[in-house]
């Protein structure tokens, strides 16, 4: 197991940024999509509104210009209501004078009777004429007015400067004659300069050939300079190129980019163009875009702050967990992760804490076993390890099978042989014995040089310990005899004998502190040791108790009772018929 040291920066950063990016994107992406949609539709709505606004302004301006002309026309119609008589002079003169007062744009007025003769002419500048009698019946204003009631002449520029137009109005009968007025169009200035589109937008009037009739800057009209007016004509052409009611962008006389719309003035062949600087017209659009941009940036910042905070909130418990796990991993099992978040993290922390507790218990046990292993036979230690219970080692009295074995002639061999040879030989010998002991579930409790003591039914209880012991002895003989074949080539004096006894014994842990051992104490141990000592090579000697327990399950042969050290009477001895026993196995 490898542990990341607590607080490894790269891991934390990357997780934080992953969360941050995901959360930030989750907030900002919809915001951006909504913002883009808002901008797009807002822009188009504004464009449409602007179109409508300019179109309405143009039509309103056209109506205003029309009102101006119609006002003059109305005034003129008053003078052609009664038929001419021979002596109507004074009353007509009064009418005419009043008209000049009422309509300042009218510079002169001629009244023509039913026969087309000029009866009265009044002027602001020239001398008046009464009953001049000049025949005007063939002139365009008179014939035009007679045909259509109202006649509008073309725009003319007096002295190449001031725009004038002739308006003629006929009465409802031929006999009332025609009023012909010269109108100074400079007076439309008052109308046109009063038109405001937005804050600085203006209107101007062009006649059909494209000459400027009215403009808020009267000097432009008075200059009557076609070249200077070219941009205005271009602007009109640009609007005419678009669908009706659609505004067009272009440049005005000062070179400023404007957006303009146009309307026809009813009655005359003039067009009113209204224009507004594009910067001003689009100002609400730009303002809305700026506002939107600001909101998006603000939203983005808030999203970043939120994402950062949330990521921090998510990463922090993970960091605490990681730190805790690292500490626990490093063996600090008493460490407890504190995460009172009341969510999955807290549950996870609780699990880790539980795990740490279990690990602590487990380590304590394995430490104990390791300690036991140091002093106990590996088999016993493993047994305890397996059961996890040391109580099997507690002292008690049980019926055990005790087996002793050793190598014959080992003492003389070890005196002559090289130490390496001895150690090698013993290693092979113990390897073979341990395999057999393990295979039969016995416990190797002790060994001393070439001698080995093996217990059955303690500390691990088992069934038929006498039979298992006998079979194990036969196996041991088989394995060791194979080794002896090799060894005897150099040392023919070597052999292997086994003694086996059965009976009650006191078993348990003995020793203290740093030195502990598990062993059996009792007469049976002594007896097994003696039997081993008296066994010849390849012989397995068994005592009476074991032989009785075995019965006929393994072929045994009784030998003569022998005197043994520590026993008052001769001890009955049985020998296992190894060849037949091995065949039984």
């Amino acid at each position: 197991m490898t542990f990341q040291p607590a607080g490894a920066p790269t891991k934390h950063r990357s997780l934080f940024w992953k969360y941050f990016r995901a959360l930030f994107a989750a907030v900002v992406a919809p915001l951006m999509i909504a913002g883009a949609g808002e901008a797009w539709f807002g822009y188009h709505d504004q464009r449409a509104r602007l179109n409508e606004l300019l179109d309405a302004e143009a039509r309103l301006a056209a109506v205003k210009i029309h009102d101006f002309i119609e006002g003059i026309q109305d005034q003129l119609s008053w003078t052609v209501q009664l038929p001419w008589t021979d002596n109507a002079g004074d009353r007509r003169m009064l009418d005419a004078m009043r008209l000049l007062r009422q309509a300042p744009a009218v510079e002169s007025l001629a009244l023509v009777d039913g026969t087309g003769r000029e009866r009265l002419f009044v002027s602001r500048i020239g001398l008046n004429r009464v009953e001049a009698g000049e025949d005007r019946s063939a002139t365009a204003p008179v014939t035009g007015a007679r045909a259509d009631r109202v006649w509008f002449g073309p725009v003319t520029f007096q002295n190449d400067s001031e725009p004038f137009m002739t308006i003629a109005v006929a009465g409802n009968r031929a006999a009332v004659g025609v009023a012909v007025a010269e109108v100074n169009l400079k007076f439309i200035w008052e109308v046109v300069s009063g038109i405001r589109v937005g804050r600085t937008g203006e209107a101007f009037v062009l006649d059909e050939p494209g000459r400027l009739v009215a403009h808020p800057d009267i000097s432009l009209v008075l200059r009557a300079d076609q070249a200077a007016q070219a941009p205005l004509q271009a602007l009109r052409a640009a609007i005419q190129a678009r669908a009706p009611g659609q505004a067009a962008a272009g440049r005005d006389i000062t070179g400023k980019t404007v957006i303009a719309a146009m309307a026809q003035v009813p009655g005359v062949d003039w067009q009113v163009v209204v224009k507004q600087p594009i910067a001003e017209a689009y100002a609400p659009i730009y303002a809305a875009l700026w506002r939107l941009g600001f909101l998006l940036v603000a939203g983005g910042l808030i999203a970043a702050a939120l994402a950062s905070w949330l990521s921090q909130r998510m990463v922090e418990p993970i960091r605490v967990l990681e730190d805790g796990v690292a500490r626990i991993g490093a063996g600090q099992f008493d460490h407890r992760i504190s995460l009172p978040t009341s969510d999955e993290f807290e549950r996870l922390a609780t699990r880790f804490n539980e795990m740490a507790g279990e690990l602590a218990v487990s380590r304590e046990r394995s430490e104990r076993i390791a300690r036991l292993k140091r002093f106990l036979a590996p088999q016993i230690a493993e047994l305890i390890d397996r059961t996890g219970d040391e109580r099997v080692l507690d002292g008690r009295r049980v019926e055990v099978a005790v087996l002793f074995c050793d190598i014959r002639g080992f003492t003389s061999f070890s005196a002559n042989a090289e130490p390496e040879e001895i150690i090698d030989m013993l290693r092979e010998y113990y390897d073979a014995l341990e395999r057999v002991v393990s295979a039969h579930g016995a416990t190797l409790v002790n060994f001393f040089g070439d001698g080995v003591m093996v217990l059955l039914n303690a500390p691990v209880p088992c069934t038929d310990p006498e039979l298992r012991a006998t079979e194990m002895a036969i196996d041991m003989q088989a394995n060791v005899q194979k080794l002896l074949v090799e060894w005897r080539k150099l040392h023919p004096e070597l052999g292997f004998g086994i003694g086996l006894a059965m009976g009650p014994a006191t078993v348990g842990r003995i020793g203290s502190g740093g030195r502990l051992n598990y062993t059996a104490i009792g007469n049976v141990v002594n007896l097994a040791s003696r039997l081993c000592s008296s066994a010849a090579d390849s012989e397995i000697l068994v005592d009476l108790v074991a032989a009785a327990a075995i019965g006929t399950r393994v072929p045994l042969a009784q030998k003569d009772s022998r005197m043994m050290k520590g026993f008052d009477r001769p001890v009955p001895v049985f020998v296992v018929d190894v060849a037949r026993g091995a065949a039984l196995n």
């Binding site: 004074d90 003169m93 009064l94 004078m97 009043r98 000049l100 007062r101 300042p104 510079e107 602001r124 500048i125 020239g126 001398l127 008046n128 520029f157 002295n159 190449d160 400067s161 001031e162 100074n184 400079k186 007076f187 009267i218 000097s219 008075l222 200059r223 009557a224 300079d225 200077a228």
Partner: protein, 337 residues
């Protein structure tokens, strides 16, 4: 100017501070510094500031419409001929020699011509009653060219209308007197105009000349002596600026008289017919402002103030024992009672 000089050349701050302390301190310095950055209009007038008062008012109004206010962002330097029109060329040259941005030559063809003769570089805005083309001030109304443009009223052109009104008022009389100023550049054209009108109206003309105030009383007595039915003044600034005097004389001599200026009936005279000077002077102010803003006079068309106004004074008519016919009453722009 002196303060500015010292302030500008003072070199070190200490020197400048001493100079300022000696010469009246910070206030004087800042005023001159502001004057330095302000554009200057040279205003040339044929009379005195007092006689021009109503005209100047209109002029300043126009200037304000163009965004300039005297003393705040524009300085005006005045030159007055005080009625001696022969001084105009010298005054115009004086103005031209100064560092000014635009010359306003208001109050007649004499002023415009004097300014035109004095400079061909400084922009000039004129104000006059005659035809600027006929008088040789400009060659075209729509494209004046050169360094001058301006405003003309219809006063000179409508002299004949005055005779017509007088004839209408006194239809029984076949003889009328006209007053001419022989020094006026428009007098020849006006006399011809008036003579033609007299022929058309079928009346006899008695022509009286006067170019000095002292000659005015003689003109009124001459009207009575000749048996003329009334006195019609030709359009001339010299007459126009002396409307109160003429009104007083007409009352004293009980002569039905008519001039171009509304000031005449307002001061007790019988009636007037002529261009609206408040409009023409206002327009002059607007043009001066536009030129200060950088527009070229050659590109500003000469404007004609088309408005012509008829003022009548009923009290004066009563005193003279005459009454206005309905046609005149009906067409009068203002009736003074």
């Amino acid at each position: 100017m002196r303060v500015r000089h010292l302030g500008g050349e003072g070199g070190t701050g200490l020197n400048r501070r001493i100079a300022m302390a000696l010469l009246g301190g910070v206030a004087g310095w800042t005023v001159s510094a502001r004057a330095q950055s302000m554009p200057v209009i040279g205003y040339l007038g044929s009379e005195t500031q007092e006689r021009y008062r109503s005209r100047l008012e209109a002029f300043r109004q126009g200037l304000a419409e163009a965004g300039y206010i005297e003393g705040r962002n524009v300085a005006i330097e005045y030159k007055w001929a005080e009625g001696q029109y022969s001084r105009l060329p010298a005054l115009a040259r004086e103005l031209a020699a100064r560092n000014i941005n635009v010359i306003v030559a208001a109050g007649g063809a004499e002023v415009a011509l004097a300014a035109k003769a004095a400079t061909s570089t400084i922009p000039i805005v004129f104000e006059m009653g005659g035809d600027p083309i006929a008088l040789g001030v400009v060659t075209s109304l729509s494209r004046p060219g050169g360094n001058l443009t301006g405003v003309s009223s219809l006063s000179v052109e409508v002299s004949r209308k005055r005779l017509e009104f007088m004839r209408e008022l006194r239809p029984a009389t076949g003889k009328f007197a006209v007053a001419m100023n022989p020094t006026s550049p428009t007098s020849g054209a006006q006399l011809k105009n008036l003579q033609a009108a007299a022929d058309a109206l079928g009346v006899e003309l008695v022509v009286l000349y006067g170019s000095q105030e002292q000659e005015f009383p003689g003109m009124f007595t001459a009207v009575r002596d000749s048996g003329a039915g009334g006195l019609v003044f030709s359009s001339d600034p010299y007459f126009a600026y002396r409307s109160p005097q003429l009104a007083a004389l007409s009352v004293r001599h009980a002569v039905p008289s008519m001039t171009q200026s509304r000031d005449f009936p307002l001061a007790g005279g019988l009636m007037s017919y002529g261009g609206d000077f408040s409009q023409s002077h206002r327009q002059t102010g607007i043009y001066a402002g536009r030129i200060l803003k950088g527009e070229k006079p050659a590109e500003l068309p000469v404007q004609r103030v088309t408005r012509v106004e008829l003022f009548i004074n009923l009290k004066a008519a009563d005193n003279l024992g005459i009454s206005f016919p309905p046609s005149i009453l009906g067409s009068a722009d203002r009736v003074i009672e």
